[in-house]
Symmetry: C2
């Protein structure tokens, strides 16, 4: 009987475990989980901290006993310390420091990512938090409850930073967001980032862009002073630092697993590392990008699930390949949804493509039907070949934006040309769309621009 050992109990690890058992119910699966929270939705932490989800237990994608019921052994509160690829063993240590050896026939490494600690003085002060694990979430929650700060500074205006700006505003705090680049949510084009910035300000969030935070200092009375470039000074009762993550691949690298981009584990499309019978998946690996046709580092929960599923299937004899990320991302900030897939203009240019990007403002459904909102659509295609490269949409949360972006994503998956989008029989009813869906209207605007 094959023994599958998995290091890491988050999205990639649990997906791999479930898929392996599904494909081959005879496989013995053990997952080494560093804490007591396997398969938790850390993407849900902002909504726990906002107060919208009163009970953190609900953040579990699955409860521990749902997982064990599938015949998966969970080794909780255990940390993997070393992999011996020759002996096919992993040393693990429990909370009391007791160590033991786990052997494997197949190993999946899903050690995830850790916050990229930026060069800011004062990160270890009380009231300053990074947000990554369930334990981080509990620490922030306890501080918010016990200290009742009235104001917050959030360093970093990416997805997590902006979700936390929404969450803490919802909780009643005065929030300031500080971003190093010149616009918020730089995964979107600046024109769309500006719309998101305006939404933040409409809800009372102060937004400072083009500021490098340099130091956080504790004032008498416990208030935190945050100082940055361009004479940025402000004070707050709590500071959250959300400036991105880096792969956690030290364990793998020590065992001789090859790493690459930003130190992430290099894997084949079948999610195998350079070591025999050792797979890796999730936020700790380089991710194949379908549109760019090369590896990138792009850690996302939805990708971790897919990679884990592929790795799990292959450990029990499957031959599945990870199809690749499309760079799809979505976020809700107050009443707005912002979503994207594929390449933006600048990303395409950087990849040596000659892109054309067209902006379209149109209604989410027939304007005569009540409740119509404007969508801001940006579509990018290859000017020479006409191939679709990417799409971005920002607008009101009722505009079915994320699944419209998924229409773009499904088109990208199939290497469609921009013009072919007009041939797809998309649904239409006046309360929900137009005879040409906004996705298609943007394709028609693109074709006009390409031909002019």
């Amino acid at each position: 009987m094959t023994h599958l050992l998995i290091i890491g109990g988050s999205d990639a690890g649990i997906s791999a475990a479930l898929r392996a058992r599904e494909v081959n119910p005879a496989v013995e699966v053990t997952v080494v989980v560093a804490d007591r929270f396997p398969n938790y939705s850390i993407c849900g932490l902002p909504f726990y901290l906002s107060g919208e989800i009163p009970d953190w237990h609900n953040l579990a994608h699955r409860k521990a006993n749902d997982i064990t019921r599938e015949g998966i052994n969970l080794l909780m509160d255990h940390t993997a310390r070393a992999i011996d690829p020759a002996a096919k063993t992993v040393s693990v240590v429990d909370r009391e420091g007791q160590s033991s050896q786990a052997s494997y026939d197949k190993l999946v490494i899903g050690t995830g990512a850790v916050p990229a600690s930026p060069a800011i003085a004062g990160l270890d002060l009380p009231g300053v938090f990074l947000l990554r694990t369930m334990a981080d979430g509990f620490a922030v929650h306890e501080y918010l409850t016990a200290q009742e700060p009235e104001s917050a500074v959030i360093v970093g205006a990416g997805y997590i930073g902006l979700e936390m700006a929404d969450a803490l505003t919802h909780r009643g705090l005065d929030v300031t967001v500080v971003e190093y680049f010149d616009s918020v949510l730089t995964t979107l084009d600046p024109a769309l980032g500006a719309i998101v910035g305006a939404e933040l300000q409409r809800h009372g969030v102060k937004v400072s862009t083009g500021v490098a935070v340099e130091a956080i200092e504790q004032q008498p009375g416990g208030t935190l002073a945050v100082n940055g470039s361009n004479h940025f000074h402000t004070r707050a009762g709590i500071v959250l630092v959300a400036t991105g993550v880096r792969p956690e691949a030290t364990l793998a690298a020590s065992a001789g697993v090859q790493t690459g981009l930003r130190g992430a584990i290099q894997v084949s499309r079948t999610m195998e590392t350079n070591l025999p019978d050792v797979y890796a998946a999730g936020d700790c690996v380089e991710t194949w990008h379908h549109v760019l046709d090369r590896y990138v580092y792009l850690p996302l929960g939805s990708t971790a699930h897919k990679q884990g599923r592929v790795a799990g299937e292959n450990t029990v004899g499957g031959h599945r390949e990870f199809a690749g990320t499309l760079g799809t991302q979505a976020v809700k900030i107050f009443d707005l949804v912002a979503a994207r897939t594929g390449l933006r203009d600048a990303e395409a240019t950087e990849a040596g493509i000659d892109p054309l990007t067209v902006n379209l403002e149109t209604w989410d459904h027939k304007a005569y039907y009540p409740g119509a909102h404007k969508l801001h659509v940006r579509i990018t295609g290859d000017r020479r070949t006409g191939r679709l490269l990417g799409g971005q949409i920002v607008g009101h949360r009722s505009g079915e934006i994320s699944k419209r972006v998924d229409v773009f994503a499904t088109a990208l998956f199939n290497d469609m040309a921009v013009d072919e989008l007009n041939d797809v029989d998309l649904s239409y009813t006046p309360p929900l769309s137009s005879p040409w869906d906004p996705v298609q209207m943007s394709a028609q605007a693109w074709i006009k621009a390409q031909q002019s």
Copy 2:
């Protein structure tokens, strides 16, 4: 200079006109419009009659002068009486009975559809209406306003019938829906139709299925008695008959244009009829079905737009092919959205395929985030080859259902296998979806069922 003549000023005709001018600004285009309402959204009539759209002018996709500004001549209040394909002329007659000849180099026929008058006695009584044209809409509106009926019977529980049930309930009438088949909305599987039926009843609509309406009679005082099979008897102040449409192809057939299914005009994939330089598009033609790989009769506004665009492009030298319908349809009934694409189980069986259909009930987004609603997803695939054949979803209108069905549609357009859906990088954020979108969860349930 080419002269393009178009018969019909609705979706197909105006799309053809606009596309021809877009591709070749030198082409001279004339559209013969039977009334004064070119390019009106007749799909919007229910929302005008509900009172949600106070001004019917807003139903125009484009105002007449938006169309003429594109260099298109509109011959309004003119009816085409005969086509002479040898002389390349069309006789038209205006409201005063004045006739004239219009010549063409290329002709597009977009004469649409007319209500299929069912075998019911009393269809010509005052207070009994069919709903197809703007004029029909005005007549119903006038009757509702002048007579203020307190109750309505709607014959036919298809899209229009159910939208009118919603609309008249919204207006304060007591509504009864009568349907010949055993469930409402028979374009969905009965299990999903039952959910729609329950939603109607929840909003006070009486639903009688399995009833063939036989006669409508006027009672003293003007009340209408509606009698049908299975001892069905009821009374109402207004009766709407919405039992489907048939193609309006008599003009074309008289000129020697070949017709087929249900009398619809036969066209090639380039939207050409058997007569040289004569094209046809929209509700009057047979429509290519991409999944069935054959022609069907399936009149829809979104399809008419696409076919019109293809015809228009080809009249000015293009070589575009209509890619085919996927059978995509969506409707909002009260707080529910019901949408479908591709083939249902029974449709696939009828086409000689061995289908497998799997039912999945799941949340539209992570259940821990407020506002989650259950989606009812049905996915159909080819049991032998694994090819995706269709998808249906019913659920709360906030569940991005129509665009989720469009993900299925885009997959069908690309002939994807069910299992490939799991490889697509669809968007995820807890307030809007799950790491595996419900579309993908249904694909995984299908794969499990196929393998068991």
